[in-house]
């Protein structure tokens, strides 16, 4: 068993596979006070398996909103978001939760680890939710912590880890249930340059091992590490290289 259930690395010239994410003319409006914010205005994109995409753009341009739609934590006001062929907008809360648990990994800017749990327990959390047996999830958590270079720190709590280490634990947690898609929102936003570079390397390795990675970032180095960079402005995609 490999850490990410390795798929053959496609490389830039590989045959074009079916996309795992397909966003079609998606709009997202939400109320803010008396006004309505048009966070997304007719966005369309596709993410292939093993894709490595960076979404960049100024603050408030809709990057995180788009990521939330792809992560099935939000629904489009109009348009369609298909993840692995399933319409995210049509899923009920329970289905969406189950879908996120098994198909999507999330990494956040602020890590959001459970402060009172150890690194290993944090990684075990999604597996426990998925009903993985205790011994199996402990073994997989160790394997994942080894993968992110924190095998020796499994018993440490988040407070005892550096920011970079915490983010690596968060990445290991995101990979716990072998998701096909990893979504990261400003994953290097709270890290120094050197630590950020380690995270970039880790994402690259993850992607090589078969996980589609989509990052929202202001970090030019992280964006440069992706195969494709999607530029957004005012809720729209302004440039998007072909996949």
């Amino acid at each position: 068993m490999t850490v990410t259930d390795t798929l053959p690395a496609p490389g830039p010239n590989a045959r074009k596979p079916e996309p795992i994410v397909r966003v079609r003319d998606a709009y997202r409006d939400y109320p803010m006070g008396k006004e309505t914010v048009h966070a997304l205005r007719g966005v369309s994109l596709e993410i292939a398996p093993c894709d490595n995409v960076a979404i960049v753009g100024p603050s408030g341009c809709g990057k995180s909103t788009l990521l939330n739609l792809m992560g099935v934590v939000d629904r489009p006001s109009r348009g369609q978001v298909l993840i692995e062929g399933r319409d995210a907008g049509a899923m009920r809360d329970r289905e969406a939760t189950e879908f996120r648990l098994r198909h999507i990994g999330f990494v956040f800017q602020r890590f959001y680890l459970m402060a009172m749990l150890t690194a290993r327990e944090n990684v075990e959390l999604p597996m426990a939710e998925a009903g993985v047996a205790s011994a199996e999830r402990a073994a997989r958590a160790r394997e994942l912590l080894d993968y992110v270079g924190l095998g020796a720190r499994e018993r440490h709590r988040p407070g005892e880890l550096s920011g970079g280490e915490q983010q690596r634990v968060a990445i290991a947690r995101a990979l716990a249930n072998r998701p096909a898609l990893l979504l990261a929102d400003e994953p290097t936003g709270e890290l120094d340059v050197r630590t950020g570079a380690e995270i970039i390397d880790l994402f690259r390795r993850l992607n090589r091992d078969g996980t589609a990675v989509v990052v929202v970032t202001h970090d030019a180095e992280l964006a440069a590490a992706a195969w494709r960079t999607i530029h957004m402005r005012d809720g729209q995609i302004v440039s998007q290289p072909a996949r």
């Binding site: 934590v73 329970r94 939760t97 990994g105 749990l117 939710e129 947690r173 995101a174």
Partner: protein, 395 residues
């Protein structure tokens, strides 16, 4: 894992958690004490009345048992009449009076009851022997202490002081044969029991064949109220009160007291509920981002509710356990203070621990804890994930 998270969440702010538990414990203790007080006095009174399982008390017409010096004449005839009712299986007459124990120029006073030697209706023998023969006397510890006597001593007892003749009506040498615990008098009050015939003889012609009270035991399957009504009908010069009727009177007279206990118990429940709600709400509000992330990574809404409710349950359970201990200690202390009230029988308790009532009331507190956790839990788990994450990011 959910249990671990709930425990971890409570450990996150140990001082706050400890204070909340203490608060719930105090509320629980108050609740328990009020339940013990509210139902305890009544139950204690019931046990007090039924201590020797006599359900009927037959007193002179219009009086309460032993409330006045009034007596019932022709006691033998009354006892015979009572025996004609098949529902009445045992009767025991009691004649109460003041006796004076002469010690040189001094006369020390005690209350005494003349009893039927065959039943220990008024006391439980602790040491020595019963008053099986005439001119024998059994007394309580206070009597022995006040009179400076011991078992085997003979006391010079008199009764019925005549102020015109400046003499006593009856005088007897009584042999102290035993020490007993008297059910219906306070522990500090000297009290003694002598055979009924001795007591009647000491009272002179005025007390011949007279009693202050007749206790009657009714067959288990019979209705004591019906038996009481029968006695009142057949013997018009007496008033009969059954235990149930006495308890009804107690309920009426103590209604206000019990209402107060219920109100204070309800207040303590509300306080416990608010404490847990406040703590859980504060704790949840601090963790909105964390909860949104848990939801984002696929933790079910119900599981989050479960975790937060578990926190409330843990607080309530630990608080209830503390409340049980604290409540018992304070009840014991308060009972000791109230029981020292002059004239109260030693068998009477204000706070009575009844396991079922305690479990029920503390169970109610735990239920309040569950409800207290449920709302903030559901609210937190129902927050839109994306919106919450966005707000957290801005914050």
């Amino acid at each position: 894992m959910i249990r671990a998270l709930a425990a971890a969440s409570l450990r996150r702010h140990p001082a706050r958690t400890a204070l909340a538990i203490l608060g719930v414990a105090v509320a629980g203790a108050l609740l328990l004490d009020m339940v013990m007080l509210g139902s305890g006095m009544r139950e204690s009174f019931r046990r007090f009345l039924l201590v020797q399982n006599f359900q009927l008390r037959i007193a002179p017409k219009g009086t309460l048992p032993m409330d006045t010096e009034a007596t019932i004449d022709s006691a033998s005839a009354i006892l015979r009449t009572l025996h004609t009712n098949p529902d009445i299986v045992a009767v025991t007459p009691v004649l109460g009076a003041q006796i004076h124990v002469l010690q040189g120029a001094r006369a020390l006073t005690s209350f005494a009851v003349g009893i039927d030697q065959s039943t220990e209706a008024d006391y439980q023998l602790e040491t020595g022997a019963n008053v099986a023969l005439p001119d024998r006397i059994v007394a309580n510890a206070a009597f022995f202490k006040v009179m400076h006597v011991a078992i085997g001593d003979t006391v010079d007892a008199v009764t019925g002081f005549d102020p015109q003749l400046r003499t006593y009506v009856g005088r007897r040498k009584l042999v102290l044969v035993g020490q007993g615990r008297f059910f219906y008098t306070s522990a500090e009050q000297p009290v003694a029991a002598v055979p009924l015939a001795t007591m009647q003889a000491m009272g002179g012609p005025q007390r011949a064949d007279r009693v202050s009270l007749v206790l009657a035991r009714v067959r288990d399957s019979a209705n004591a109220d019906s038996a009481a009504a029968w006695v009142d009908r057949v013997i018009p010069r007496v008033t009969t009160i059954s235990t149930d009727a006495a308890l009804r009177q107690v309920d009426e007279r103590m209604g206000y007291f019990r209402q107060l206990a219920v109100i204070l118990a309800a207040v303590s429940l509300v306080v416990g509920f608010l404490l847990v709600t406040t703590l859980v709400t504060v704790s949840v509000n601090e963790r909105l981002g964390e909860i949104a992330v848990m939801r984002a990574i696929g933790v079910r809404r119900g599981r989050i509710v479960q975790q937060i409710v578990l926190e409330g349950v843990a607080l309530s359970l630990i608080g209830a356990a503390g409340g049980l201990a604290l409540g018992l200690v304070t009840a014991r202390y308060l009972n000791a203070i109230l029981s020292d009230f002059p004239g109260l029988p030693s068998t009477f308790h204000f706070f009575l621990f009844q396991p079922v009532a305690a479990v029920r009331s503390l169970g109610l507190l735990v239920l309040a804890g569950i409800l207290a956790g449920a709302y903030p839990a559901w609210r937190a788990a129902s927050l839109p994930i994306a919106g919450t994450l966005r707000r957290e990011a801005i914050a």
